[in-house]
Symmetry: C2
Subunit: 453 residues, 2 copies
């Protein structure tokens, strides 16, 4: 039927964003031909035009995948290390919380566009990968695996040549919308009552950073918060997370005066650094925050959903991209083991990965509470202090944040270990009310017992 | 802009099934013009052709709504009372469990098609209602409320005239699929691992019923079950609920021999009554069982989802249609109060109805376990016996089944009362292991205390 023997047919990658571009590299390095169909225009063009700086937190899971394809060094050139959280109180006082007792362990702020562009360039340089832009997935025959696309420039519809497709088309995946109507496809899309708005802090004189660059800045305010990550050009991209409704919700911040008052009241130290605040606030869209859970991710040996298409999460653990990159690494492992038996590749991938996707989705939601409430609850603050205390003094103790951000143990295992940490802290706090009363000897014994070290 | 003043514009009802037809009656009786757009052909034609008998359990909530529109008597003509469950053991022995201590309290087996047809006839007779068949909802502008439809006979697309639309288009609602892509629409679609297959028991000589007609028959078998409801023509419609996978799952029942063996093994008393078993089994489709939860149901004063479109549930409490009819009754109440302020009508409806939809969805899933497992767990059986014992001997005690099926208290309240019943039974069973040891005096005091009677 086909001009090419089955194993030489191109693999369709639907979506050329972060996960799609990286997966294209993995596949091409194995010798597969890959056609990447991306709905948007080539974002490398936009990059040349100087688009807005939007950055992401890259941590060990993502770096591990970049290392596997040989991109680590190149990406590290554009990565800004962040060694901890810089908490901004309303009175302007700063508190630095290192991510790890080892001051060298860090996450990185990376430009989404730069990262995407470099992966696209690498995959194209491998010759086996072709990118097709402004191509929208229109329909899929889940029996035959046929994918129908529309060229948005010419309005022409056509059938993609390959019969194995991997959908990396994001939280609002067109492939998933089609799969949703097939029998027994389970799906949940759950929005937070909070939205987000991107704002900016420009560079100071001589392109100097106006805040400490090697930290992730957080302004926790109970029911809302702002964060800021550094960019290479000396700017910071801020993200304000705010309820849609209520006195200080997006729906009530409709006038410049009101927005100014809001920042004056809650972010007085940031306000003088944000000369474009009102322009940013009223010109940038208000984003929503969704968690997507679905299953199964695969249709036989035909189609696989991966990355945000299969498990979009809220951004509060900084793991969306890292989880997508880890997907690529793990899918690559199963391709090594089972290709060209794509049915087996896809099935083992989804069985391996689904519980981990659930775990990071849950942890990201929990972290939202943790990040915004850090100021509020004394009991919660004491627990946090105890955790940092244990992390500092007991070599075997690691926080859940460290398991998630600085290791590649499965997310579900990180979740489990975090629960054990909580039990340990419960036990240590039983009957006492301050950090000083903690018995470190007891703590070390407990840690060793509970983790059966 | 419009030929008619706003309050004389027709209301669009998307979907002319059970909920849609009944809602059309309610609206027309208030003097609203109604256009009903139904994707399928006129099912009254099919009825004349002698379609398969598919029946549903009608209980108080549904009857209450039919009573409100004056249809109770006409529907009772085609309703077969079922006073309890007739349990069929593997050895063929029968156990009858009345639904209520009052032997007159019953649910009814009603033909879905007859019921639908009679509501359509009534609404058309009111002159204000027009049914348009083979019209598919294609797109909706949720800002303007404009609804675009396609005439499937002519392939012509057009815009419906009204600006207020009520979507009653079922579990796979096209309107909900469109609404799903609007901002912050929460959705869950969750399938059971079980499917269902409709089978039949024909009438005996002289069109006599071959099983007791005034009962809902159940063959509980642990991980699966069969039920049967009577039809007016002396037949029974059976529904087999079975896992898709496993030794005795649908996926493994692929040959006539295997299906015969399955029935011989598990339903030996039913097998001789089912001469068309193999034809039914291999010709009828295997259905899936989905729970749909979503929110919000309304877009401003423009569009409302109701019935299965907003809260499809599994059939194990016999409440799908009843919940849809109760939706109509409650929406009617808010129309009385607030129309033509449709924004307020829709918002009060969804706030009132959402917790009740959640409650019946949960109870229907719980009832699945209860119905299929009735044979298995001795502790569970003892609890059931205690419940029946209390219901018989304590006038103030009512089972959750009774609150759901024989009252119109909100589903969420029925759920809460069921939880109190469970606590009462827990307390009574504490330290004892047989029905005889129950202290009825203590039980009565407990019931009065817990329900603060």
């Amino acid at each position: 039927m086909e001009a090419l023997p089955p194993d030489q047919q191109p693999i369709n990658l639907i979506g050329g964003g972060l996960a799609g571009s990286l997966m294209a590299v993995y596949l091409a390095q194995k010798g597969f031909r890959v056609n990447v169909y991306e709905r948007r225009a080539d974002m490398r063009q936009q990059l040349l035009d100087g688009g807005r700086s939007i950055n992401l937190a890259l941590s060990e899971r993502g770096i591990h995948a970049l290392r596997e394809v040989g991109l680590e060094e190149e990406i590290m050139e554009i990565a800004i290390p962040m060694y901890g959280r810089m908490m901004h109180a309303v009175d302007g006082s700063l508190t630095f919380q290192a991510y790890s007792k080892d001051q060298q362990t860090c996450i990185y702020s990376v430009s989404r566009a730069e990262l995407n562009a470099r992966m696209m360039n690498l995959s194209e340089s491998l010759k086996l990968v072709d990118f097709f832009f402004e191509q929208r997935a229109e329909d899929i025959d889940f029996e035959s695996g046929e994918v129908y696309l529309k060229d948005l420039a010419t309005n022409r519809s056509y059938k993609a040549p390959g019969r194995v497709s991997i959908a990396c088309d994001g939280a609002f995946s067109a492939v998933r919308y089609a799969m949703q109507k097939t029998p027994r496809f389970n799906l949940e899309q759950a929005y937070l009552d909070h939205g987000y708005k991107e704002l900016s802090i420009p560079a100071g004189p001589d392109n100097r950073f106006q805040l400490e660059p090697n930290a992730l800045h957080i302004w926790p305010r109970g029911s809302f918060m702002m964060i800021a990550l550094p960019n290479l050009d000396g700017t910071f991209t801020c993200t304000l997370f705010l309820p849609f409704e209520g006195e200080w919700g997006f729906d009530a911040l409709k006038t410049p005066d009101r927005v100014h008052l809001f920042f004056e009241t809650f972010f007085p130290d940031a306000l003088p650094l944000m000369p474009h605040l009102l322009d940013d606030f009223f010109n940038n869209p208000t984003g929503s925050l969704v968690t997507i859970r679905c299953y199964p991710w695969a249709k036989k040996d035909r189609i696989l959903l991966m990355g945000d298409a299969s498990h979009a999460i809220v951004p509060f653990f900084g793991q969306g991209m890292n989880a997508g990159f880890e997907d690529c690494s793990i899918l690559n492992k199963y391709i090594d083991q089972h290709a060209p038996d794509w049915g087996k590749v896809f099935d083992e991938f989804q069985q391996d990965r689904k519980p981990n996707a659930e775990a990071i989705a849950d942890m990201a939601l929990e972290n939202f509470i943790e990040m915004r409430d850090t100021v509020a609850d004394p009991e919660f603050l004491l627990r946090k202090k105890v955790m940092h205390h244990l992390a500092r003094h007991i070599p075997e103790f690691q926080s859940r944040y460290e398991w998630v951000s600085f290791s590649t143990i499965p997310y579900a295992e990180a979740y489990r270990r975090g629960q054990i940490n909580d039990q340990i802290i419960d036990t240590l706090l039983d009957g006492i009310s301050s950090l000083e009363e903690i018995d470190l000897q007891q703590a070390e014994t407990l840690v060793k017992e509970m983790f059966a070290l």
